[in-house]
């Protein structure tokens, strides 16, 4: 099913957006640490995230998941190896692959609307009126129409997350990277947003790299789960999650789901022991 969908271009609120795979090829990255010399986070790591799929990268905190996201987004560059989008290697950050940060990165001094239209406006892709129209459309879709003129600090945690997803989507990126986007939210809000993001993905089939430390979140959302181990960070296992789409929370009590869960837990424990 995923293969068939891979041929379609996705549609983000009426505008076509091209999709592409995103990859790391033999990437090494180390950081200087004040007390431990250099820390080798990645060594010869190669991962290929195919287009139009929802890839979930899962691992314990501190295993280098965020670093993986930052490399893909181009915020940091590899010491060795390449990061690429579609057929081409990429170096700097750019609007074709956007990352939604773990903690809110909305600019507190701009209203929600100004936050959302920032991208199209600074690139001059659209005139101000068009950008505003598109932003208002997205905000309405995301249930934030009444909050366009509020500042981010006036929004609840869940609303902030939705505003940030809108802020990225308006740029029609080829790849969305989400770095533990729902962390720190209460359980209810979290589940609502998971379903929300799932609906959005199933509608658009936008290539997504979703980083999380929660197994249940991973299983519920993913086409593929990449289980990550640390020191140096590597992919221990890739699980193809062949659960029917569109999904809802009922899937979490199915036999298949539980089998995947068992396999993933087994893999995670192995990584702890090794």
């Amino acid at each position: 099913m995923a293969e068939g969908a891979a041929l379609n271009t996705s549609e983000v609120h009426g505008t076509k957006s091209e999709n592409a795979g995103i990859w790391l090829d033999q990437v090494s990255k180390s950081f200087a640490s004040p007390d431990a010399g250099t820390i080798q986070v990645f060594q010869d790591l190669s991962v290929h995230f195919e287009p139009n799929q929802l890839h979930v990268v899962m691992g314990a905190s501190g295993c280098g998941k965020s670093t993986l996201g930052y490399l893909l987004a181009g915020f940091i560059s590899p010491d060795q190896g390449n990061v690429g989008l579609g057929p081409n290697p990429v170096r700097n950050p750019g609007p074709e692959r956007l990352l939604v940060f773990q903690e809110t990165a909305l600019w507190p001094w701009m209203t929600v609307l100004d936050n959302v239209i920032f991208g199209p406006k600074v690139r001059g892709d659209a005139d101000a009126k068009e950008a505003k129209h598109a932003a208002q459309g997205l905000l309405t879709k995301f249930g934030l129409a009444d909050f366009a003129d509020k500042y981010p600090d006036q929004l609840s945690g869940g609303m902030k997350r939705r505003a940030e997803i809108a802020q990225a989507l308006i740029n029609r990126p080829k790849v969305m990277i989400l770095d533990e986007p729902f962390r720190g939210l209460d359980v209810m809000t979290r589940e609502i947003l998971q379903e929300y993001y799932l609906d959005l993905f199933e509608e658009t089939r936008q290539t997504t790299v979703f980083i999380t430390s929660e197994l249940e979140e991973a299983l519920f959302l993913a086409d593929k789960i990449y289980i990550m181990g640390d020191q140096p960070a590597r992919i221990l296992d890739i699980i193809d999650v062949d659960l029917p789409r569109p999904r809802d929370f009922e899937v979490t009590v199915s036999k298949k789901y539980l089998e995947y869960k068992e396999r993933a837990i087994e893999r995670l424990f192995q990584s702890e022991e090794s």
Partner: protein, 257 residues
């Protein structure tokens, strides 16, 4: 402002303030140790109403001191904010000039008085310079810290959305630093008054500091108290004005839940 006063002033507060003036009055009348030369509150009020409320010289002292504070404060902002931004954003510039800055920073503003008088051609300019020094270092350090505390996510997000450097500076970096500029302003205005009053006592023949000092020199304790109260009031008013400006600079802070 009135609301704020009301919320901090309940009946206990009124009793305490009344008690304060009563004790002051009694201490003077009974000539308790140290209070023999002191003016009591009634004498101060009498003196103020009779000789100062309509006196141009007195009100001119207000204007003079306010001018000095204003110039010192504005120059400190004018030079301090860009310097703080440069220290924060330009590594070469920081490596070159920050050590000199750090060398001069621990010198208290009043230690600059004699040199300032030697250096500047007029008395007025030397006092403004000392006032400037008082606020300048605090502002630079605050802005510099503000730049260093900018969330990297805020910059990364703007870069990934394709913002050119100029836009990143104007729309992301500057607004991020505004809260630090505001802290620098609050601290700056307070120290500016401290410094201007001391400088006027040491090296000037005008201003509220001088007025207060003259009260002492001419053995008219009423004047001394009038001067002190005037200075307190002037500092209070300046802080209020600065706070108003700050909240105008940060509209997103006013609406915080």
């Amino acid at each position: 402002m009135l609301k704020q006063l009301q919320s901090t002033l309940n009946w206990r507060g009124f009793v305490a303030i009344f008690g304060f003036f009563l004790i002051w009055y009694l201490a003077c009348v009974l000539k308790l140790p140290g209070f023999a030369e002191m003016a009591n509150p009634l004498e101060v009020i009498q003196m103020f109403v009779r000789e100062y409320a309509h006196d141009d010289h007195y009100w001119l002292s207000w204007v003079t001191s306010f001018q000095r504070v204003l110039y010192g404060f504005l120059f400190a902002q004018l030079f301090g904010i860009p310097l703080g931004l440069l220290f924060g954003t330009n590594e070469k510039f920081r490596n070159l000039f920050f050590p000199v800055f750090e060398l001069l920073r621990p010198i208290p503003p009043l230690a600059w008085v004699p040199m300032s008088i030697l250096f500047w051609p007029t008395n007025e300019s030397s006092i403004i310079f000392i006032t400037f020094i008082g606020a300048f270092f605090i502002i630079v350090i605050n802005v510099f810290d503000g730049v260093r505390d900018i969330k990297r996510e805020h910059l990364w997000l703007a870069l990934s959305l394709g913002a050119p450097r100029r836009v990143v500076f104007l729309r992301i970096m500057l607004p991020s630093v505004i809260p630090s500029i505001a802290v620098g302003m609050t601290l700056g205005i307070a120290i500016t008054w401290d410094v201007v009053i001391a400088a006027e006592m040491i090296a000037s023949d005008s201003g509220l500091g001088r007025l207060t000092w003259e009260g002492y020199v001419s053995s008219t304790p009423e004047v001394l108290v009038i001067g002190m109260i005037s200075i307190g009031l002037a500092g209070y008013l300046s802080t209020k004005v600065v706070n108003t400006i700050e909240s105008k600079m940060m509209p997103w802070r006013r609406v915080r839940r």
